[in-house]
Amino acid sequence: MSGLPSELLAAVSRDFPADFLSFDAADLVTYGRDWTQVLTPRPVAVAFPRSTDEVAALLRLCSAHDVAVVPSGGRTGLAGGAVATNGELVVSLTRMRRMDPVDVLGATVRVQAGAITEAVHQHTAPEGLTWPVDFASKGSSQVGGNIATNAGGVKVIRYGLTRQWVLGLTVVLASGEVLELNGALEKNNTGVDLRQLFIGSEGTLGIITEAVLKLTRVPEKLDVFLFAVPDLAAVLALFREARKGPFVIMAYEFFTEKCLARLRRHRNVKTPLSAPSDYYVLLEVERGAPDELEAWLTSLFERELVTDGTQAQHSAQAADLWTLREGISESLSATGLPHKNDVALPIPELTGFCAELEQFFEASYPGWEIALFGHIGDGNLHVNVMKPDDLSREDFLAKTHEADHAIFALVQKHHGSISAEHGIGLLKKDYLRYSRSPAELSIMRAIKRALDPRNLMNPGKILDP
C-alpha cells in the first residue's frame, strides 16, 4: 500500500521514468532521515528526479493532490530538517549531480543541486579555483543542502558562510512554479534579493534544483599547527594573538581531550604531541613571511601562551592533524549517543558565557561526559552531551530537552544564537524564540504563507505556520 493518491500514482507512471518513485523499505529508511538518530523516518515514498522540469512537474502534482514533500540532499543535516516523520513524499536530489564547465573568467560554475560538495571542489580544482564551503561531511553533503542550511564549516573565519558563495538559484515552489533568481550576476541591485530567502530556508520555501556558485582561487601553501593549551581561557587568549599574527587565518578550531578520547575509541589516529592536554587548538594559516611567522611562534612559547605544539611538515601530516578535529563529530555518534547543541556567541561574550556554561553543566549534568569543540574563531561552540551508559535513551532525551531551555536562556542572555550553522529543522524548533523576536517570527510565518500557502513544503520544520 503506497498511501499516495491513485491519480498521482497514475500520472507518475504515465509521465515519469519507471525508476522515478521508490517504495522500497530500505530506501524509505535511508532517504527518510538525515544524520540525526533520534526521530523515526516514516515517508510514504521517495522520488528521484533528474531535472528541474521533473521536480516542477512532480510538485504540480503534489500541490494538486495535497501531498507534502521533504526535500532531501546528502542527509548529513544535524537538525532533522530532512527527516520525513509524517508520511511525506521525500524528494531526493541524488540523481541531479550534473556540473557544467567552470567559467574561469567569471569564476563561477553552474551545478545541479544534487552535486556533492567535494565533487564541486574536485571539479573546479584543475582551474585553480574552489568553492570554499568545507567541512567534515563534504564527501556526502550536497550543494542544495549546503545552500538550504546556509552551511558554515571550518573555513568560515576566512570565507564567510555559504551565502557569500551563491550567485544564482533555480528554485521550484510548492505550486510547481520555477524561479530563476539572479542568474550568474555578481551585481544586481533591482529590489529585494529573493535568492537570499531560500538560502538557509531548510527546504521550507521551495526546492533548490540548480545553483550558480561563486568560486575563489585555491589558497597558496597552507601551514597547519596544533597547539596544546590548558583551558578555554587560553584558547581565547591564543585567538587574540592569532588575530594579530603575520598571516591570513584560514581556520581556528578547538577541541578537548575528551573529544580525542572518543576519536581514539572509534578509530586509529595519530598522537602528534608528546603529552595529552585538556584543550587543543588547530590553526591553519595561509603562509606568511617565514621569519615573521617564526618570531610569532617563538613569542607564544616565551609568554607561555601555549604549552606545546607542532606544525605539519607535509600535506599528509596536515591531513593527520585535521583528522583530529574533523573526525570528532562522526566518532561521537559512532561510540555513543550525543545530544548536540551548536551555539554562536559574539566573540567578546565567549569567556563569560563559557564560565556560566561550566557552572550549568556541574549543576545539571554532574559527572556527565561533555564533548566540547567547534569553530571558536567564529564564536561557534559545538556542545555535545553524551548519553551516560546507565540512563535509558528516553530519559536521556527528556533530560537534555529540558536542560536545553536553560542553555538557550544563557545563550540569549549573552546575545548569541541557539543554532550557529546546523539550522532549526525539527530538533531546535521548540527553542527558536530564544533567538528570534515575536515580530521576526511573524514575518517568517508571513513569508512561508506567501510562498507555500498550503504548507506542503517540508511542513513542521523551523516553525509552524
Binding site: 599547527f225 586509529n268 595519530k270 598522537t271 602528534p272 604531541l273 608528546s274 617564526e294 611562534l297 617563538t298 612559547f301 606545546d308 605544539g309 607542532t310 606544525q311 605539519a312 611538515q313 607535509h314 600535506s315 599528509a316 601530516q317 591531513a319
Partner: protein, 275 residues
C-alpha cells in the same frame, strides 16, 4: 651509537591521481606533484631516534642521527623536517632523480659511509615510487657488512642489534654485529618495536612516527646541513638501470549492480571466475 638514515622524497601517494605520464611515455611528469618523505624512510628515522634515546626522555639524544638525501636544493625541506623531528645533522647530495639508480645511490652511500663511519645504517625497505627494494642490500654487499632486512623489531645489545622480521607463518630473529645495515618495514613504528639499551623494557611508544615539536622545528633551522657533489662520492656515474617506458594502469571498468545474491554468485563464478 651513530646512525645514518638515508631519506628520499616521493610523490605523495595520496595524490596518486595527479601522477601524469606525457604522451611520449618516457618519464613521469613531476611538475605540480606534492612531495612527502618516503613512508618507510620516515619509519627508519623514527627507529633511529628510538635507538639513540631513552624513550622516557626523547629530547636527549644518546649518540648521533645523521640524515642524508639525494636531490636538488628543494629536497632540503625533507632534511629540515627530519632535523626538526630529532635528527642531529643533515647531508644533501646534489643531483636529480633521473640521474640515479639503486646501484649508484648505494655506491655513493658506501663512499659517504667511509667518511662518516656510522655504527649502523637504518633505512626504509624500499621507496614507494620505484618500489625497487635494492639499495640496502647492494650497500651491505659493497661494504661487506651484515644486513637485516624488513625489520619489524630492533633491540639494541652491546655491539649488536637483535632484529626480527615477519615471515610466512612466524617471525625470524637474527643478531647482527655492528656496523650493520638494517632496512625497516612498517611494523617498526609500533609501540613496542624498538628498544635502545637505555629504554626500559616496560616503556611503550605512541604508535607511528613522532611529529616535530614547534620549538624543535625552529631550532632545526640552525642545525648543520651540508651539500656534497655526487661526483665527490662516485666518480663513475653510469646507470645500470634504464627506464624504457612508463604506462598508466588501465582505467577501472565501471561497476554493475546485481539484483540479488544468486546473481552475484553466478557472476563471480562465470564472469569474474573467482569462485
Amino acid at each position: 651509537m651513530k646512525i645514518l638514515v638515508p631519506l628520499k622524497r616521493v610523490a605523495d601517494p595520496d595524490n596518486a591521481n595527479k601522477v601524469k605520464i606525457p604522451a611520449a611515455g618516457d618519464k613521469i611528469e613531476t611538475t605540480g606533484l606534492e612531495w612527502k618523505p618516503n613512508p618507510f624512510d620516515e619509519y627508519a628515522l623514527e627507529a633511529a631516534l628510538r635507538l639513540t634515546e631513552n624513550g622516557q626522555t626523547p629530547k636527549v639524544r644518546a649518540g648521533e642521527v645523521v640524515v642524508v638525501t639525494f636531490g636538488p636544493k628543494e629536497t632540503e625541506q625533507t632534511l629540515r623536517a627530519a632535523l626538526a623531528t630529532g635528527a642531529d645533522r643533515a647531508i644533501r647530495i646534489d643531483t636529480t632523480d633521473d640521474k640515479l639508480d639503486g646501484d649508484l645511490v648505494a655506491r655513493a652511500l658506501a663512499a659517504l659511509i667511509e667518511k662518516e663511519k656510522p655504527d649502523v645504517v637504518v633505512m626504509g625497505k624500499q621507496a614507494v615510487d620505484g618500489d625497487s627494494n635494492q639499495v640496502g642490500q647492494i650497500l651491505a654487499e659493497l661494504l661487506d657488512w651484515p644486513m637485516a632486512t624488513f625489520a619489524a623489531t630492533i633491540k639494541e645489545e652491546a655491539g649488536a642489534l637483535v632484529v626480527s622480521r615477519e615471515v610466512d607463518g612466524g617471525v625470524a630473529t637474527m643478531r647482527v654485529k655492528l656496523p650493520a645495515i638494517v632496512t625497516v618495514d612498517l611494523r617498526i613504528v609500533a609501540p613496542t618495536s624498538v628498544y635502545s639499551t637505555k629504554t626500559a623494557a616496560t616503556f611503550k611508544y605512541n604508535d607511528g612516527v613522532r611529529f616535530a615539536a614547534l620549538p624543535a622545528i625552529m631550532a632545526a633551522k640552525k642545525k648543520l646541513l651540508v651539500e656534497i657533489k655526487l661526483a665527490d662520492l662516485a666518480a663513475d656515474q653510469a646507470l645500470k638501470v634504464e627506464y624504457k617506458a612508463f604506462q598508466a594502469p588501465p582505467a577501472r571498468k565501471a561497476g554493475i549492480k546485481v539484483k540479488d545474491v544468486t546473481e552475484l554468485v553466478t557472476r563471480l563464478k562465470n564472469e569474474a571466475k573467482v569462485l
